[in-house]
Amino acid sequence: MATEANKEANDIVENDEVVLSAEALTMGEAAERVAMASQWQLMWWKFRKHRLALISLVVIIIFYIVSIFAGFFAPKTSDPSVLQTPTYTPPGYTHQSEYVNSPPMPIHWFDSGAFAPYVYAFKKTRDPDTLVETFTIDPETKIRLGFFVHGDKYQVGLHGTPVCPPEWSDNLICIVLNPVLRFVRNIHFTSEVHFFGPVNPEDPFYPVGADEVGRDLLSRLIYASQISLSIGLIGVALTLLLGILLGGLSGLVGGWVDNLIQRSIEVLRAIPDIPLWMALAIAMPPKLDPVFVYFGITIILSLLRWTDMARVVRGKFMSLREEDFITAAVLDGVPRYRIIMKHMVPSFMSHIIASMTLSIPGMILGESALSFLGIGLRPPVVSWGVMLSKAINVVVVISKPWLLLPGLAIFVTILAFNFLGDGLRDAADPYHT
């Protein structure tokens, strides 16, 4: 079978060039479009396909908007008589003692065919046999509701920014920081328009029930979201900072630094998280200012969680160091910090964002677990976990199931963050099909 073709074959150089010329350019227009698009564009295209992630993003955005403008969305606002500390003004609420432990009031949207939302007032009746007080609808009294009604005064903005207490006034940091903090604190506006509520601000309105001192649970839920939602973000920001810093150092410097950081991570990972959180949370003095408790809890939560982030970052740095485009940049004499900032960080930023989103639920869960046990945040601070701690007793839950509502809020938030993180993670790998 020694044909001419076989002879010719001997003349052919079996060389990569052959492969290249035939193989090299195989993509079509769509692929061209893909090749031209920026990384973020690709991610967005892929993210859009993840319907649940998209819905979750919307839900999360709504949650945060409601949380930021809590005063506007909550039907009731602060009552100045509630306990305050020098740095912390708790969101209190007008409370009506006759509505202590009131069940939810069902909202009627139409009155004789026309749109005119109202609720019936409740009246208490005592069961002649059991002598138990129960709430019954009082059909005589309709409480008119409306959108954009005038009610309690509230503030929206950065008025909650802590300032140094007076007793620290000679502290140097305070002298420098306080003017800034005061300025930031002034960035807010005051209003008395509420999104939805009773037309007459004095009227009782408990759409999801009242707590044990007659405060509106919906308003508390909305104010509590400020703590619960922000603790996740701040905690993750801290985690990210520690993780990128230490993980990056570990991956970039290598050697004994890497060794030290890796061993520290191993040690931290060997300590079970919840018992350690419990120990640390208890270590915080109970009389500590709520603002410090808040940051303390956040730090405690991030203390163990940064190790995951550090591992991701280190792994990425390690593998990127071997990549051709980094080698090319090094050979081109690009300065090191520039390589890191321009080439390395962008190439794994998307992964970082995705894993950040996925670690927010852990933070929210941690806070609520600690507060639920009564060793995290404590009243007068209100978070979903603090509210849930009222429901620790089963008998209470059975008689007042609406106390579990903060649990629903936690559930929805975590669900949304998980879906969002999942979508982001899928999108973070735009070239992966």
Binding site: M1, T3, E4, A5, N6, E8, A9, D11, I12, V13, E14, N15, E17, V18, V19, S21, A22, E23, A24, L25, T26, M27, G28, E29, A30, A31, E32
Partner: protein, 347 residues
Amino acid sequence: MEKMSETLVEVKDLKIHFFTDEGVVRAVDGIDLDVKRGKTLALVGESGCGKSVACRSFLQIVHSPGRIVSGEILYTRKNENGQGEVVDIARLNPHGRRIRSIRGKEIAMIFQEPMTSLSPMYTVGNQITETIRLHTEATKQEAWQMAIDLLDKVDIPKPDRLVEEYPFRLSGGMRQRAMIAMALSCNPTMLIADEPTTALDVTTQANILDLMLDLQQQYHMTLLFITHDLGVVAEIADEVAVMYLGKIVEKSDVNTIFNEPKHPYTQALLRSIPKIAVTREELDPIKGMVPNPYRRPGGCPFHPRCAKAMAECRTVVPAVTQLNDNHTVQCLLYEDLVGEKAMEQAK
């Protein structure tokens, strides 16, 4: 001569489509092929032309969302009585017992990536004996001895030790030899080799090719060789089919393809090969890119890149033109030619 070119597998108008979210990709778009018993057929084309998908359909292992939409793959097998029996593989249930008894036993396949085609979790011996024990009555010990013999046959040194090694401890060439040994384990009638040498370095490539040719003679195997490397084609093939975007654009024996290529694509492919010559020539790569599979060009799929494209090429899909007994081409240039010839003859 007639007996030599007995057909083993006859492919008729085979269509394999991939049903993806973005649309339907016609990976294999109506091909006809004759695989002759004992011969080597090379299927040549750029990556993405559908050659790998086409050869996978011979074993019904086209993965979803791909599906054989229509056409026949008529495989002539010998049944228990030694008589010929024609099976249409395209109609067999991909999970069924019948196709499984063909896979690995009658038609074996080796793959492009010897690094990943063997599982790192099991020893080489474990994976070879698996096939033997599946298709024969051999006991564990017998199978193990057969595995050692097979490894010896594919020129692996110290086969009795290597049989107990894990694949990741072997070099690429050794792994491909082990893959070949595995494919040979049941004396297959036909061996499908999907770019078996692409992932190997040049010297190993040559060794593996020699080994395969050698074994083909020994075992009287039919070889279906998929490659994009025309150098390899020249070395081993008897027949050549050139594929472009799911169609076989030209098909003939190896001499004809190399000496008288008719289709502009075949011609361009051959021109793009560097040759050792006294004068340094510029390489002449094919211009343009393989088009987006979702938006195939109308008419002749090659027309946007074709140097000889005419106005009609954009709209008219060329039919298969039989140039002579053993040479077909799918190009409008020759359709007219044959037409003219016929007209002349008619006159």
